[in-house]
Amino acid sequence: MAVIEGALVYSNLLALLSIGLTITYITTGVPNFAQGTMAVFGSYVSLTLWLLFGVHPYHTIPVSFILGGILGIAIYTVVLRPMIQKEAMIVILMIATLAVDLILLGALGAYSETLGVISGKGTRKFIFTPMDFKILGADAILVISSLAILMLLFTLFLLLYKTKFGIALRASMENPALAEIMGVNVEYTRIFSWFLSGSLAAVAGTLLPFRQEIVPATGAIIIVSIFAASIVGGLSSIYGALAGGYIIGMSESMVTFYLSKVIGPYILVYSKVISLIVLIIALIVAPSGIAGLEIWRKRVWRKSSSS
């Protein structure tokens, strides 16, 4: 049972991260390799508030959300937008996000040292698990991460389908040139998508230490699973990213666990290999990811209804 709970928590967090990655990919065409470290940024925001002000990490979620969003906007406006305006190729943008990732990693490393000196506690490695509690018999992290996903989906639904700005956002995702012709300021929608992506990453980062130990380089490890989830999801659909998060999260946790039973516990270190194998199998079955399956389903449906 504990394994399934752990797998669900991990999948919830992966879904938050892959939805963020997919949103910025759809709106700006940037595959963001810094998404994992943006999450670790959120972990350090919560650690700081805990160590310096005694705020329980769960209570730091709103602060993490806002600061993560600001970081997202900063990465887009300072680094990526000038390159996009000069028509940089996708490879260049990808390398730029790798550079951002390394800069963030360095900054977080230096910050963790400073925080350690100020607080007088070790901050290079940390975990929030001892601070967790039970809600109705389940670990609070399971309830809170599941609530975070549900709230996100509900809010996204309201925003995207019930507000004028949300319709503009969807229009800009589908055809930015046409949206511009209609008078939509497509740039606002891009900035908003980076805010949202940064916020979701930071919230996932606040919750991640309840499941695993965090070091500044954790982002470089989880980015493999984030990309796997987004690609399995098709990189073009928010719901695809959600499904991708659960497919990769559950298979990575469960398969690794059962393999460790059969082969031995040393296999746990190689859990990311499982993500990549699932990614390859998923892409052989559905080359365009889950979003592609949806398009295929519609085509079949149209064919059968027209014949």
């Binding site: 004028k164 503009a168 969807r170 511009e180 012709i181």
Partner: protein
């Protein structure tokens, strides 16, 4: 209303149009015809600012708009409807109309929407349907309806009847005529259905290899003894 003066344009280094002089009269239908690859669509795109202008000018309502960005031209009342990708297929019909009225306040949007649905009542029954599920003809209706909501005065249509059944094509031509007669719109039309387009047009231009080969009244071109040879570029 709109003038192209010695307009040479293309895509970066590629030259497609050469010193085009054209005049689109207010509240008239002007059709541009010509064989494939003659630069008809490029002409419309150049008027809307989507190509590289090598020389010449575009004058709209006595204002030089040669370098005005497309979204500014939209605000000035120019609407350009490309042949494909002219509606948001993942949005519903209602959402497409809402986006078209993005810059309008609620009251004005409602008035414009009522007007658009008055011209295209067919859309009223499709409001909650995704635009991607509409037939080709209905999509053209929706695309033109969005232009009406955007307060377009000059409507530029790039092959609106392409890939439509003859029945739907005729309906589109009837609607275009209605837009001119009832709403006083100015229409600049590029069409592959040459005869039918010229029949509803006031003026016509024939482009061949990026140059104007004929300009005058639409019926003159229709009655031209070498009409068919001209249209296929012989």
């Amino acid at each position: 209303m709109l003038r192209a003066e010695k307009l040479s344009a293309g895509y970066k280094e590629l030259h497609i149009l050469f010193e085009i002089n054209a005049n689109v009269e207010r509240k008239k239908i002007t059709t541009v015809v010509g064989p494939n690859g003659s630069g008809k669509s490029t002409f419309l795109k150049s008027i809307f600012g989507l190509t590289t202008i090598h020389s010449g000018r575009v004058i709209y309502n006595d204002k030089d708009v040669t370098l005005t960005p497309p979204h500014e031209r939209t605000k000035m009342g120019i609407a350009y409807l490309p042949q494909v990708d002219n509606v948001f297929t993942n949005l519903t019909v209602e959402e497409n109309l809402k986006i078209a009225g993005y810059t309008l306040d609620n009251g004005e949007y409602k008035d414009r929407k009522d007007l658009a649905l008055d011209v295209f009542p067919e859309l009223e029954y499709r409001m909650n349907q995704k635009a991607g599920t509409l037939s080709g003809g209905e999509r053209q209706f929706l695309a033109i309806a969005t232009a009406l909501i955007r307060r377009a005065e000059l409507l530029m249509l790039d092959e609106p009847t392409a890939m439509l059944s003859p029945k739907f094509a005729n309906t589109i031509f009837d609607k275009i005529l209605e837009l001119k007669d009832r709403l006083g719109l100015t229409i600049l039309l590029v069409e592959q259905n040459v005869k039918k387009a010229l029949e509803i047009s006031d003026n016509a231009y024939l482009l061949i290899s990026g140059r104007v080969a004929f300009e005058g009244k639409a019926e003159e071109l229709l009655d031209h003894e070498k009409f068919e040879q001209l249209c296929i570029g012989i």
